[in-house]
Assembly symmetry: C2
Amino acid sequence: MVEWFWRRRPRIPAPRLRSKEDAPPPARVDLHEFTPEPPEFFARAAYVELVLFERLARAGTSTPTTAIRSALARAADAPLSRHRAFVTEIERMGADPGEAMDRRRAAVDRFQRLTVGADWLEDTATAHFAGGFLDDLFRSLATGLPVELQARTREILARRSEDGVCAVLLREAMERDERLQSRLALWGRRILGDAMLVARDALELGEDRSGAEQRIEPAFSELIADHTRRMDALGLSA
Amino acid sequence: MVEWFWRRRPRIPAPRLRSKEDAPPPARVDLHEFTPEPPEFFARAAYVELVLFERLARAGTSTPTTAIRSALARAADAPLSRHRAFVTEIERMGADPGEAMDRRRAAVDRFQRLTVGADWLEDTATAHFAGGFLDDLFRSLATGLPVELQARTREILARRSEDGVCAVLLREAMERDERLQSRLALWGRRILGDAMLVARDALELGEDRSGAEQRIEPAFSELIADHTRRMDALGLSA
């Protein structure tokens, strides 16, 4: 995390020797001005989590061992729990979750269709990398929600317990078969493009689209850098 | 439940006018003498729950509406939670859950292969009917576990929150399309046969197989009657 931070902002004086208490967290560019209305925000987030759940559940059905199959099923509990929590938020607003999700699901459906993995490894990588990217996006967008919803949303999005499991499973698979590394690196890069289309579609860009495009650029650069960091952590150069 | 009880044991004097407090629960024939060793019992139960989870997760991906898709995903949380709990029991015994499940999974794999539904309705019916039947079996077999494991096992098996969701979804679908009733009745009858093969395979019959066959007969009759009751509750005559 710290290393990546240096690479991206080499000109900022490095607080290298500061203790953890002194160092403020790196200021992130948030996307609050592009946050859709709360029901739409939660509907999109709920639908993305549903798709991530389905992806991990599907990954589990074509694994080489029952141990991996069980681990992926249990990992699928995390996006399912986030889905359930976002559905509850939609219901709290008096909206119908099914209808709310249906209204703007085209971009996510396209993502789902275009990123069907060749095997459990690609599906697991999708859940880990694209899921991490999109949850980061929703975390950034959540800053534009009414204050009382921000904390609950952050708390829901913090439940990414699948990341640890996915990372271990992918790392172990690459240790068993070194050729996997280049395939998964390529896959990770590819799904970033697909996930970015979902991300852009989730923003409320308003009328001044070209102005908006310029202003979302720094935030997207940060999201991409976080993706690169996740890839690096698995030895996958993006 | 009470009605079914009369049908099966017409000669027992009927405690019809007793209050609920006075009436003892109907004595059930349990299967304690056929219970396998605890690690094997939990491995089988864990694997069945994993398969039920996968079935509901799969059902969710081919539904007509996002609302049903979301409901099925959330229903899949129940077998997943039971799977997780049984895996924890296997780990507590110092055994490897993956290996333990692998050792005796053939009958369940066969069930999984033979009962792939034509649509989400058949998969949902499988999770509800076959899942209910097999969890009843494990509840009956649990009486043969060491005492300290019985309560935990009963508590795990009591978490069948998917039943309510499945029943509502199936009932609503049949209200929308009356022709479904005969198809689902047929399906429910068929998967009972497949589930019974899984059930028999889960028993430790010992050397005197023909004696054992005779002694399991009454317990299986009760399990089948419970299945019939579940079918009846949805207007599906078995």
